[in-house]
């Protein structure tokens, strides 16, 4: 997994675009047993990231990610602002003052992000949140990279896992977030945050190929 600053930017940009493009879809997912604002919140926050894109401090990957986290948590309300903001802040801290991040480092960053979310949300795997996609996809990514897969293959595998994991959340009962108030009735529909993450990682995976082909190493 090649570790240029450009790749970090491309990934963040893909996440941001994906959030903006899927505003309606993500909102609908949240409406099933939540309050329907997830798509709106995410879109407004990442819109701000895109708006301020050129001015974001790019000294190093860590600083860049932390600034993105701050934009997000200053603009996104609801649960998602603090959760996603914390994820970017933690990932940035783990990335550190480096221009590029190795595959190993990416895994570590995702682990930090997940720990941050757990702490902020007093939640864990199995509570039917985005953690139920984030943790499995990180595991899979690590496993693929360890067994020698290249970045593209590892991402593709992680994307498959993320989708499966997100879909599997429909078998869970929500124990955190708005959906938890409905108890048993939250079973039978997927978690909005987990599914959003699956869509995002799929997008990154498919874009990745293009970036490499276009020589945007």
């Amino acid at each position: 997994m090649s570790g240029s600053m450009q790749n970090v930017e491309l990934v963040v940009r893909t996440i941001a675009r994906c959030a903006v493009d899927n505003e309606v879809y993500f909102g609908e997912l949240d409406a099933v047993v939540g309050d329907g604002d997830f798509g709106y919140s995410l879109a407004r926050g990442f819109e701000k990231v895109l708006d301020e894109w050129d001015g974001i401090d790019r000294t190093d990957a860590g600083t860049f990610l932390k600034r993105v986290g701050m934009i997000i948590s200053s603009r996104i309300g609801g649960t998602s602002g603090p959760i996603w903001g914390t994820a970017f802040l933690r990932a940035g801290a783990t990335a550190g003052a480096t221009q590029g991040v190795s595959g190993e480092r990416v895994v570590a960053m995702l682990r930090s992000a997940a720990e941050g979310i757990k702490a902020r949300g007093q939640s864990d795997v199995g509570d039917k949140t985005l953690l139920d996609a984030l943790v499995p996809l990180t595991d899979r990514l690590e496993q693929e990279l360890t067994s020698g897969a290249d970045a593209a293959a590892a991402l593709a595998a992680a994307a498959t896992t993320a989708r499966e994991a997100a879909e599997a959340t429909s078998r869970l009962v929500a124990r955190r977030g708005r959906a938890s108030y409905t108890g048993e009735r939250s079973r039978g529909s997927v978690d909005a945050g987990a599914m959003a993450l699956a869509v995002i990682i799929e997008q990154i995976s498919s874009q990745w190929q293009a970036w490499q082909t276009e020589g945007v190493s």
Partner: protein
């Protein structure tokens, strides 16, 4: 979507601007942070009282800023807790030497935003305390949630600490009072229709012509269970049973009774509910000392209502009786 709306993204700012225009002498509006504050806040001799939450619950909380109630409200977008920055900036702007009390309805997003905002304000040397409100008896199993939600009973906490703060109570005293009111306040709600967030443009869920959602939240999230629609009296009896047995309220108690409309229900129907609740409380030996019928905490245009009881004692009743002056007014 049958709504008065322009660009849905401007819905909240346009509403806030309307509030400011309607109250030029008493309120100040800071668009950057969705902030509506008393023009005379902060005051040296008074703890500033702040509440934020998602929008869509009007008049809570942006329309109850004023003498005897809130010093400021910083709402987020519709049904989304405000970003922590809003909380932080609000705390800074109303920072009084006597401190700032942040009232928070118990939801994940709100708690996180207010917690983070408080930390940032404290780092600036502001004396800030948080009081969490959680009056909703509909949430049964708090092991599996963040706990009970804060809903319409919120009004009573605000009214009590608002009154006490005008009388000069300090931060500790306000936390004690607010906690005390919260502890004797219980609410349960029912929805007849789902609500339609402007940005979504369609109802959050579908309810059949003969169905109601029992124990609904105020964010359009579905409730405890879906039930067949029954006559008004039966609905009241079921709400009352859930609320009364929870604290429990007992024979000999004197209470405040609130029938709160969720946004799309006319006040005529609320009085039909009030009548039954009053009569049934009398049956149980519980006296209604203060009556509240109208919209206090809504879910946009949802047809529905909630029933709140507050157990009164002299201290609480005096604070509820105290004068106040806010943007929702009759004259």
């Amino acid at each position: 979507m049958k709504k008065f709306v322009n660009d849905p993204r401007q819905f909240v700012p346009e509403m806030l601007e309307g509030i400011a225009l309607a109250n030029p002498d008493t309120l100040t509006y800071v668009p950057e942070y969705n902030l509506i504050m008393r023009s005379d806040a902060p005051r040296e001799d008074k703890v500033s009282i702040v509440q934020g939450s998602g929008s869509g619950h009007e008049p809570a909380h942006v329309m109850i800023v004023g003498r005897g109630m809130l010093d400021a409200a910083c709402p987020g977008d519709v049904f989304a807790a405000p970003p922590m920055d809003y909380v932080y900036e609000t705390a800074k702007r109303v920072a009084s030497p006597k401190g700032v009390l942040l009232l928070v309805n118990n939801y994940t997003g709100d708690r996180m935003a207010f917690d983070m905002g408080r930390e940032m304000a404290e780092a600036d040397g502001i004396d800030v305390r948080i009081l969490t409100i959680n009056d909703d008896v509909a949430v049964k199993d708090s092991l599996y949630t963040i706990g009970r939600r804060g809903v319409a009973g919120n009004f009573f906490v605000i009214k009590a600490v608002g009154a006490a703060s005008e009388q000069g109570a300090d931060l500790d005293e306000l936390v004690r009072l607010g906690q005390k009111v919260n502890d004797v306040t219980r609410t349960m709600g029912v929805a007849l229709t789902a609500c339609t967030p402007p940005a979504k443009g369609s109802p959050l869920f579908e309810l059949g012509e003969d169905e109601m959602e029992f124990g609904v939240g105020i964010h359009g999230e579905p409730g405890r269970e879906r039930r067949p629609l029954v006559p008004a009296d039966q609905i009241v009896d079921d709400l009352l049973e859930a609320v009364v047995t929870d604290l429990p309220y007992s024979s000999g108690d004197r209470v405040a009774l609130m029938i709160n409309g969720l946004g799309g229900t006319p006040i005529s129907e609320l009085y039909v509910l009030f009548r039954r609740a009053h009569r049934q409380l009398a049956e149980r030996g519980i006296t209604v000392g203060r009556s509240y019928v109208g919209e206090y905490c809504t879910s946009l245009d949802m047809a529905g209502a909630s029933l709140t009881l507050v157990r009164l004692d002299d201290e609480i009743e005096r604070l509820l009786q105290a004068p106040a002056e806010v943007a929702i007014r009759v004259f």
